[in-house]
């Protein structure tokens, strides 16, 4: 498996470790529904650290207009999404201007797997800041009912035409593709150990 998975509550625990006033960088890779992700992040922030969340849709934004928005935000955490609309040149421009991103907040870039690859390839300086802080958001089974888990597993089996046993086998021998859906699958099967 080639993704680092963590549920939102763990990511918020990491945000809590970030020294106050220092800009932090984190990337969330995955197909989780945007509203669900925002809501869960908001809840966990208020429960764990009483932190506030700002959300920016970067679609249609230029780098400079995004920087301007970041400068006016005072929230502890800023989640940005909509990067799939950016071309490679905009990512490169963001990278060159990375000093302008330093606003003292914890910056979360939320994007799908393909866009994450483009982002990181065109923004090597920001990649360097992110270091290992690139996560696939894993579901938190403790927050789901047994029926919800069963329904979601059935969806995944049906979509990928694979059984639970096949997923576990592929993960165990490290031949499972680096898809956030597969991580979610393993977590729901309570085999998150194989997602590492």
């Amino acid at each position: 498996m080639t993704s680092n998975s963590a549920p939102i509550f763990e990511i918020v625990r990491l945000i809590d470790l970030q020294p106050t006033g220092e800009t932090g960088f984190c990337m969330l890779v995955g197909p989780l529904a945007k509203l669900h992700l925002i809501q869960e992040l908001q809840e966990e922030l208020s429960i764990q650290i009483e932190g506030s969340l700002a959300v920016i849709d970067v679609k249609g934004e230029t780098v400079l207009s995004l920087v301007e928005q970041l400068r006016t935000k005072s929230e502890a955490v800023i989640l940005m999404y909509g990067f799939d609309s950016w071309n490679d040149g905009v990512f490169a421009s963001l990278d060159i201007n990375r000093s302008m991103l330093e606003n003292g907040s914890f910056l979360v870039f939320s994007l799908d797997l393909r866009t994450a690859g483009r982002f990181l390839d065109n923004a090597p300086n920001i990649r360097s800041f992110l270091g290992a802080n690139i996560f696939t958001v894993a579901p938190d089974p403790s927050a789901m009912s047994a029926n919800e888990i069963a329904d979601r597993l059935a969806q995944l089996r049906n979509y990928y035409k694979l059984s639970d046993a096949e997923i576990i086998h592929q993960a165990a021998n490290r031949s499972l593709a680096p898809d956030p859906h597969f991580i979610e699958w393993l977590v729901l099967l309570e085999r998150s150990d194989l997602a590492r």
């Binding site: 080639t2 993704s3 680092n4 963590a6 549920p7 939102i8 509550f9 763990e10 625990r13 990491l14 809590d16 470790l17 970030q18 020294p19 220092e22 800009t23 932090g24 960088f25 890779v29 869960e40 809840e43 966990e44 429960i47 764990q48 780098v63 400079l64 490169a92 421009s93 990278d95 060159i96 201007n97 990375r98 000093s99 302008m100 330093e102 797997l113 994450a116 690859g117 483009r118 982002f119 990181l120 390839d121 090597p124 300086n125 990649r127 360097s128 800041f129 992110l130 270091g131 290992a132 802080n133 690139i134 938190d140 403790s142 927050a143 021998n173 490290r174 031949s175 680096p178 590492r196």
Partner: protein, 420 residues
């Protein structure tokens, strides 16, 4: 509703880890890191004394500091600035160009404008500038940040036939449009653009004012290394650096790693001296530098020596990666509710960094890396290979030796073994 019953760590444990995180923040500004005494000055590696000596001994010299992402260039520049500031006759001005302007568009004059504004701040806060220099500052401000002016707009119903001159009539109605025909001899160096020349004249007034008082200026330009392609770097820097050379202001600047390769080598020749900051020696048995980097930041509070060695080796000698790895290991221990960083937290951190380098790798690039791991060598001769170098998936070991970043190599080996 909480999704977890309890995630709060006891305050003292949380505080221990928070203190650790503050010391191991890969995104922390170099100025803060230096100020807190968290850097390790190691004579065999540091180049800041050479940079400072070059600026001190040769007035108007231009030096370039080149290295990969996360190699510590900004720290070296700032230390050079500190060193120079110890000389009362010198005023070193640190300028993070990327924080002052959008470098992603070709913007000749940006370095000059930034330099002029920084000189003015130094003059205004330490000396009593004459009225003439204040006027120069106002003109410089206009050039730096732009201004509004009124222009005459012709009326749409204006009839040009009123001014018609029959002698202009040739084969039919028309007008002469001026075009420029290039000559066969091109000047050896590009001429200065008019706006850059005007800007240089303004800055020259300020540098002259300081020179008359026996003060030597050193411009320390940081951020230019973000222009990762050599031609991109040069298109932004060339005009300004040539103009600054005439002002007899010494320059220290950062440049991208790509200057060491291909056509970038021609750019190298422009500078009086180019200092290359390679990845540090990763193996603590060969050089203690990286271990010292960890120790100075207090790694021993949470990590045992053998795990520190492992982190050093996995960093490939990239300083920021070493900081990231230590931080990530700390995060893993914290999430695991452990009191100290143990071997599994270090292993996990290495895998996490390797995974982040793996993300976005294309098929061709994977093949290049696989060939390297099989001992087939590496040549940074094409775009794919250069990108691997620039993104630090491949690291320079010497002028002609390269290695796959150790954290990435470990993950690639797992992927390969799994698919066999």
């Amino acid at each position: 509703m909480p999704t977890q019953p309890s995630t709060a760590a006891p305050p003292d444990r949380r505080q221990r880890f928070r203190t650790f995180m503050r010391r191991f923040n890969p995104a922390a500004p170099a100025k803060a890191t230096i100020g807190e005494g968290l850097i390790c000055q190691y004579a065999e590696r540091s180049v800041f004394k050479k940079l400072a000596a070059g600026a001190d001994l040769t007035l108007g010299s231009q030096q370039l500091l080149v290295g990969g992402i996360g190699s510590g260039k900004t720290t070296e520049l700032m230390l050079a600035q500190q060193e120079l500031a110890g000389n009362t006759q010198m005023v070193p001005l640190y300028i993070d160009v990327s924080a002052e302007t959008d470098l992603s568009t070709v913007n000749s004059g940006a370095l000059l404008a930034s330099l002029g504004m920084h000189i003015w701040r130094a003059v205004a806060s330490n000396l009593n500038p004459p009225v003439s220099l204040s006027a120069t500052y106002k003109a410089l401000t206009k050039a730096a940040y732009g201004y509004q002016e009124q222009v005459w707009v012709e009326q749409p119903d204006y009839d040009p036939s009123d001014d018609y001159d029959p002698s202009d009539y040739r084969d039919g109605p028309g007008y002469y449009h001026t075009i420029k025909v290039s000559g066969k001899l091109k000047p050896p160096f590009p001429a200065f653009r008019r706006d850059v020349k005007e800007l240089a004249d303004l800055v020259s007034s300020m540098t002259t004012f300081l020179k008359e008082r026996g003060i030597e200026l050193v411009a320390v330009f940081d951020g230019l290394d973000r222009l990762i392609k050599a031609d991109q770097f040069w298109s932004v820097a060339e005009q300004d650096l040539r103009a600054i050379r005439l002002l007899e202001v010494s320059v220290l600047a950062t440049g991208p790693l790509s200057i060491m390769y291909g056509q970038g080598r021609q750019i190298k020749d422009y500078f009086d001296e180019v200092h290359y900051l390679p990845p540090a020696v990763a193996d603590p048995r060969v050089s203690p530098f990286l271990l010292e980097v960890l120790r100075v930041r207090g790694a021993e509070d949470l990590i045992r020596p053998e795990q520190m060695q492992k982190l050093c080796l996995a960093s490939g000698g990239v300083l920021r990666d070493l900081i990231s790895l230590a931080r990530s290991a700390g995060e893993n221990a914290y999430l695991d509710d452990a009191d100290d960083i143990e071997v599994r937290h270090v292993d996990r951190a290495i895998e996490q960094l390797g995974n982040s380098y793996l993300l976005g790798l294309g098929t061709q690039q994977k093949l290049i890396l696989q060939n390297m791991l099989e001992g087939k060598g590496f040549k940074p001769s094409d775009a794919e290979s250069m990108e691997l170098l620039i993104t630090r998936r491949v690291l320079e070991q010497s002028e002609s030796g390269y290695e796959v970043h150790p954290a990435l190599a470990a993950v690639l080996a797992q992927v390969t073994n799994g698919s066999e």
